[in-house]
Subunit: 313 residues, 4 copies
């Protein structure tokens, strides 16, 4: 199996690291226009191979290094700057995609494409049009990261293991995203009914949920301010998606895919819980939504469609 990562920046190279540590692919290829950087990352990653499952790391500033990849992750682009919103990155990124996608798709025509570059939903939508790939084969990492942030915060608040928190962030990977509280559960208990009290942990009330939702939306800004980029959690989130594809898991992940009549929402890429396997996105699940959640999702869709239109898509 071969994983190609386009863009060997903070996100791309950390994702390659996580994928190597997990043994997610036998060959990891990095592609970046910065030839010195890509060579340095390949060396640094290769030097760690003694400590991880046997693998090969290759890299180049030429797209041919991605040839015949099974999965391509696109992280190329400009880093979000402190204070900058993800939407502000849109124009430049879309132009970039116009430049790199044709060559990529030629080199790796059968790969599943995971878009990560921001604003990921709009970029995914535009990239589908640019590349002509079927919507199952190309989707965005979406709110897989935001969802892991949500689950972490809930778990911490409630004093349970993260793996027992089942809750999703849907919509835009960005300011209009919404937590799906209504369908969320903690170890079998509906999250909205969670009222466990223990020595260190109280129940989860309206105010707590509002604060948590807020933190999820704003944590990227906070991290970027503090360290200049976010890379660790997104590297793991990306690796998780890659694993779901390469081992054909049929896992449910909130990736950003093209919706067609999802609760009446169409012609936009955004995140809802979706089944992911070897051929990409198979289907979006009809998760029950409260009225507020439905309205939020619709508003998110309208916003994303508007941004896409702005850039001619």
């Amino acid at each position: 199996t071969k994983l190609a990562v386009v863009g060997a920046g903070a996100v791309g190279s950390t994702l390659a690291y996580a994928a190597l540590m997990r043994g997610a692919a036998r060959t990891v290829a990095l592609m970046d226009i910065n030839a010195a950087k890509v060579e340095a990352e390949v060396l640094d990653l290769s030097h760690g191979v003694q400590f991880v499952p046997e693998a090969q790391v290759i890299g180049s500033d030429d797209v041919s290094v991605c040839a015949d990849a099974d999965v391509v992750v696109v992280t190329a682009g400009a880093k979000q700057k402190p204070g900058q919103t993800r939407t502000e990155l849109a124009g430049a990124t879309i132009d970039l995609m116009k430049k790199i996608l044709p060559g990529l798709v030629e080199a790796a025509p059968n790969a599943v494409y995971i878009m990560v570059t921001n604003p990921v939903d709009v970029v995914t939508y535009a990239s589908l049009k640019i590349s002509g790939l079927p919507p199952s084969q190309m989707f965005g990492s979406g709110t897989v990261l935001d969802t892991s942030r949500l689950r972490f915060l809930i778990a911490q608040h409630c004093g349970v293991a993260v793996r027992n928190v089942h809750a999703y962030i849907a919509g835009e990977h960005g300011d209009t995203e919404i937590p799906l509280w209504d369908s969320a559960t903690i170890g079998g208990v509906p999250l909205l009914e969670w009222n466990r009290q223990s020595e260190h942990h109280g129940p989860l009330n309206d105010g707590d949920r509002a604060r948590i939702a807020d933190e999820v939306v704003n944590s990227a800004y906070k991290i970027i301010e503090g360290k200049g980029a976010t890379n660790y959690a997104v590297g793991l989130a990306g690796t998780r998606i890659i694993e779901a594809i390469l081992t054909n898991e049929h896992s449910v992940l909130p990736v950003s895919s093209l919706l067609t009549d999802y609760y009446g929402i169409s012609d936009v890429c955004l995140s809802v819980p979706s089944i992911v396997g070897r051929r990409g996105v198979y289907e979006q699940l009809q998760v029950p939504l409260s009225d507020a959640e439905y309205d939020g999702l619709k508003a998110s869709a309208d916003h994303l469609r508007a941004v896409a239109r702005e850039f001619g898509f």
Copy 2:
């Protein structure tokens, strides 16, 4: 960290194997009255150490080998015979516990005790009385195994990854156990509303659920008929509980613990989703139950209490 496994039979030694492969404990001690068998198992497990995280395997027919263990798993007892119910094993097993628990608790007074020997619920209840340990420190593996069977069957039927199926079996580890359909979800979708149709997979209707529930209850019998014991899945289920304890996960697991006013049910050990960490069982979660589920749970409790009484507990 030290794990002690009492009873190096099919279940005990497979559990030790799984725990070693997962690196769950640095020292694994096996104790069995059959000295030749325990020595053979220790050798066979030790020979595999090259391929797993560094660990030490020790064994003896003397309880002192369990000294100062952090977790003790009790699997000693007679294997269930083809056709035999778990309850029929009760008397002999309880007598066995009277014999071995005092020495064990003296050797490993601070360990968390996981009872596996069947009938596990009654044995756990009796063992609490015999040992005088607090209920948080001793519990049964309960329906962790049955739950993994349920999830596997649902996942297979619905065509999704097992890890996205969130459903529990509660009650007795045995014939009166009940699936908690009402609170079950698949990737955010309430299981009772699951109606995804795809090429190979249909929706999950009443009949499907009844068949699956039936298969869960009967699969142990079927496996025992076919291979004389069940060991692989239970080895992993046990290892999962051990990990939850040793890494203080606060994970939700359906272990069999002493209930005190759980929906009005008291003075019986049975399985409901419970929080497990370094000090054992912290709390039982108030999972919402349908009326039928509540009745089933109560019936299971009454049955288990009656069996315990029969044996003088």
Copy 3:
């Protein structure tokens, strides 16, 4: 990736378990003439899938279940009985291979074949003739297991981690096998010069080495006496070989392959350190041998050739 295991006995099903726990293959197929047993093993393994990397377990008494496997492991045959030597099993096993190999090779023509059934070296040699497969594509698990036993015993004696002991058993997987002391090292120190003394561990003298060599040869007998089979370490050894193949590691493993002028030894299958990758065995390494080791290897080869001739190969 698909792994097929032929023979779902103690070795075959434990190997499947280890492979599942390690995520070595996405599909694991068990084949056994005992349909009830294979079904029971498939159920027991499947029930554990919740706790391991997502995978699918299938089984049947029909060879078609192995179709298009990437690796086939053959463990079918009679278990070694207490007191019985591996050679005594030869005739029956060879007849068995004549029966099952043609159908297998038809079902999985491109698989790499790992023979495990004993006496593994003679069975591998005969199976190459029976199947007509090229020697790179079919080999025996050989002394990978014996080598892990050797390393464990040395590590234990010297008080170092098993992973730092680099020593091989070569020759027959059986009574004529020989430890390659001359080329063995411990963390960079030639084993023959190891003289570390510490609180609990002395140096490794001639007598120690003789005792260790003896234990390696005899431990299978001892384990079989104590528990009726050996399965845990061999399950891991087999999984290790499978991983080396499926991730194309080019790892050095002492598998049993057809030698052609290896230090003058030809026309026999036995174990020497060999490079293993996606296409099977690539090459045998010319490890330096002392005169005694060379003589031992030659004697082992002569013995194995004689046994093969006895059975008409």
Copy 4:
């Protein structure tokens, strides 16, 4: 188990990431004078907890966050700048250690200390004097990283798995370091006798070895030029040492420890293969050295002692 990492820069936070992915410790504490950065790193790492073994990440600019750690890794300091040698960093780093070690040792008196900040050998020597800790309890990561680079390059050249290359870099982590070719082996074959020829790989001659040795010494410079820091491989190397300690492996690792009459070399910290376990460094192994290697090691020791003297140690 608790791991504390002092310095949440490129190296420290990547090491924390690798340790979390490997489940090396249950609690990971980051300490850095840059409060905003440490908070950002803690958030980014925490958000990934869903995808790794359950753990807790904490951080602060106050040393109390390291309280009662089992292992402390010190990476605080100035990054090596393009063109700068490691020795040039010495003065500033030693002053830093004078400032932070007293508080650290008070907070975590029983921890094993792994020094990573460069120039690591001199810093380790000075830190032993400053802290007054016994030499077993504090050592440098030394040439564990350089060794992994060496093994990668040899493996790549020879076409074998990295795990089968057994070779060490000894001496300074820096320009005077030396590969121990004489004791090196590849899968049982002395490296100096390796002459395998295959389709893509030739033998390993003098020139190849010289080139490889050169690349090992210079790769850090090259990586720093290309990406501004080295972090991935060192994160894994550090994690490997942490695992050896926390699971009491007694593994052989080329860490930098205080030598006392090692082949006549004393009163200097440098790397030779050493046994590492729960209580730190147990012993340095007497690996056989060629005359040139002995001379190189002595020169490296003299150089390091001279630098230490320069800074008053």
